[in-house]
Symmetry: C4
């Protein structure tokens, strides 16, 4: 890709390549949220239960399972009562609550396949119902098994980004845009690739549209994210950010979109991480401090909490 | 790939590259069906049970499991009766149905490992049978667990295609072929690539054969399918579709084959989607309408149901 | 890769690239077996239980599970007897066999978590043993669940190769080497790539060594294996097979190594298939017949059984 | 990559590409450990339970499961006692130990879903607790199932490296750096790629920093690791190792970083293997011996134990 021709490309080309669009006229909100999701509402899409069950919070997941188990047992309890409480051994009571609780416990002990045998079905109807409730229970727990493990073993990008992007002088004499990333987890991220896009509102014959430009990086791939990676874009004559003032960046709602691809070695999976820096998250006149120190044995100690730490130049 | 040399390539080259063939003489049916399957009958292929169990409808899957469980219990019931109904506790009846139902419920409660203990095996033969029925049951449910979760977590391409492909004037002055795709689900599709092939019947020295040609696209990959992606092929002098009239396209059974490759981020898997547009599904003199609107906060709202919506030029 | 320079490359280069070696002096056996495995004995490698359990035949797998379950129950039965038969409810017998069978059935009903409750542990020792036997049983079945499904859902290459490779005149005037492949299963194989290597014994200053050469193909990748794919290598002046007679090929133990990479869409996995044709499996003066016919509606019917069918020229 | 320009590149470029850094001033420890892990301490990273449970030793894993099961049963036992020992059938004792053991066994038989029925809950409170303990037990075993299989089926790189790297004369007249790798397991490793980096302490205007240089290989990829692969770097004028004496390599703490990428065919997964050779692990004046022999049928026998075997030149 010939980056020194970027400014001459039509806006649409980079936008198309990204799958965005240039529609964002006077859009006050950011394009990519800090957590990497896209700031778009979609209506009419198909609901996918699995996707929802995998993505929801653990708290909501366990409440759902609890309620599902409760509801299922209440449902089967009424089925047993429909066949007749006399078909449940030991449901020797006249009160509805007594009968219901016997039916409920029979159902729970069948669904979970515990089967103590105190409450047990009597006669063909109740026994048949219990036979198929056990089958149903096993299938439900099969699904829960998969979901629980699927959730538990889901790889997370694990990449954490520095809070701010710095615009700071670099060795070349030109200013440079810099931000840092690190692996927030203890597993191994390897073969990282980065794509950085600069977007800003532009006035085309009176119509305000968003322009999208790829930013050239000092290096756009590394083999291993053992400590931190500082991504550096030189704002020289070839850069689409060249000559744009601080006020202009903020006023025209400039935003840096960050797309990182990596291979999570622990999970053997490709993982994509995203974030963005809006112009209000740029810092001028600061530089990053070294995030690592050395112990008495000269072994490197890398401190994740210092990833975003800067100091005035 | 040098697209401006496409018309000079032999037909076989593109056809070979696709894995089709030029055999379709006077074939009235389409090559790729709307749902992406190939319109070919294959005989003699090896039946793969897993593949079938994963692909069948949920309805058929559950009926099969139900029947399998029922059949298995009937089978084991007869085995217990073969050993002797006197070896089943509480099977105190002279009627065959009574004995059979006791044996059936003993089997069901063993297979599902509920084991209430009312019906239970007596003696070495019945106990041994029950021991191995429980093992067998556990293995069956192991398989069902895997299948159920495999089905449930199966990634779907999720890509939906506009109903028609439009042939509509484009900014270049030439007409262009256009169609739109979007992600029908709420998960993330990224790193999309498209291959488009044009196929038409051709007369080679009196023999009618299908010709296959790759179509050049404005852009053939995007990073993220956040909203819709309009795929545009310019029908200029270099296009194999150049100068072919509407009637000719229909008469010669022209067809556009669409092959999309994407990465489903939610499932961490590469997914391939296919469809085709036959000439009868082309629209002339129409253009697509914008499928999104803005709410009061200028937030974009993308409406999937309007993906195929067109308006006269 | 510049194929017209192939003959000038040292033998080692292609051999190295493949990971073989040129050691096979006067080796009468083939390099790659028909089923794609390598004809090498390795000693000293680490045994990997999982790999073995996944690869063994279903018959052997089920016999192993059966024996493991049997052995485990016998082992636990002796543990219960060690604690004392009087600690097993209903083991009211003086014969060893009676006590053993009670202990065995208690173990089986605990391991499988059926727990009828007739045979049940009495006292702290037996109850404690039963508690941990149930834990152990659940872990064993957890492993069996995974293995069973892992085996069941294992993708198979599914590619079947024509029985022979033909050396047959081609349109170019030169002879060509041809063989055919097809998908033996009903699932979808896409994005296929082929690498073909020709190997033959050569005399280098009196030392007989194997030479390895890549063969150029008419097309070495296709998008979709919907029917059959005929792989064609032209034996022209640039081919390392050029000018070698039939007798020489057989005498010098020539062999064609075939390496196919594909993406199995049903399993979302990359699959590698291999085979080889030794010179004795080459056919001269034959050509392949079309493996498909058309039904009355002109729909293509592809017959896998005719993949290897040839006819004299 | 133009390797003959390597010496002219700034140190930072290769270092950046690797994700290391040039910080290692007078660092006495190696950069990559023999087992492929990086010699860096990281603090502040997020703990990931799944990752830990998958990586720990089998011994520790089983002790953890055992203790978790024990602890859980003790916890539930106290809950049952809290409801009242009179609500546990057969807990007919006045001693605390007797009541506790009844509650403990009830819990174990509920958690594992064995449910003999001798110890069983009486009344609504205990029955309700048992119902949800069974649910909880099933979810715990669901997780254990996944973890157990995840651990069991985890692909291991399986690549073993020769103990030493040799610096030995090669056919070109120049010395060469050589080491060997082989597949330590019986499964198939294919499509191997190697990256080799040379790092050494350098004096830049009085500041001692590490320089990083890629080393050119005779061939840096092979198709199949059937036997051994000897990786060879020629130390000619273009090599960054050219002209550096044995003493200098050791004194300046030279190290060879080895990064291997392969596809494990048995697990259908990409696997990365790493190791390093410090200068003290280089051998001079030795060459590798052939690691294979031939049996009486001229079949090749490859002996893994001889991978590191050398002989004086």
């Amino acid at each position: 890709m010939v980056f020194n021709k970027l400014k001459k490309r039509t806006i649409n080309e980079t936008a198309d390549e990204l799958g965005f669009g240039t529609k964002y006229a006077d859009d006050s909100s950011r394009i990519i949220n800090k957590d990497g999701t896209f700031n778009i509402n979609k209506i009419g899409s198909t609901y996918h239960l699995y996707h929802d069950l995998i993505q929801m919070s653990w708290r909501r997941f366990f409440i759902l399972i609890f309620l599902f188990y409760l509801g299922l047992n209440i449902f089967f309890a009424f089925l047993y009562l429909g066949i007749g409480a006399e078909n449940i051994a030991e449901a020797k009571t006249d009160s509805f609550l007594g009968k219901f609780s016997a039916a409920f416990f029979l159902s729970a002990q069948t669904l979970s396949t515990v089967g103590f045998g105190f409450y047990r079905p009597i006669g063909n109807g109740a026994n048949l119902l219990a036979s198929f409730e056990a089958l149903f229970g096993l299938l439900c727990f099969a699904l829960a098994t998969g979901l629980l493990y699927g959730r538990f073993s889901k790889p997370e990008g694990g990449i954490i980004f520095s809070k701010n992007a710095l615009i700071t002088p670099f060795k070349s004499g030109f200013p440079s845009l810099q931000f840092r990333i690190a692996n927030g987890h203890d597993n191994s991220l390897i073969e990282l690739e980065a794509k950085i896009i600069f977007t800003i509102l532009e006035n085309h014959d009176g119509i305000v549209k968003r322009g999208f430009y790829r930013l050239n990086l000092e290096s756009n791939e590394i083999y291993f994210l053992s400590m931190n990676w500082t991504l550096v874009h030189n704002i020289n004559e070839e850069s689409p950010m060249f000559g744009i003032s601080k006020d202009e960046l903020i006023e025209k709602k400039a935003e840096i979109l960050v797309l990182i691809k990596s291979f999570n070695e622990s999970f053997s999976q490709v993982v994509h991480s995203r974030t963005s820096y809006s112009a209000t998250e740029f810092l001028w006149g600061q530089k990053f401090v070294l995030p690592y120190t050395f112990d008495e044995k000269m072994k490197t100690i890398f401190d994740l909490k210092r990833l975003s730490e800067t100091t005035p130049i």
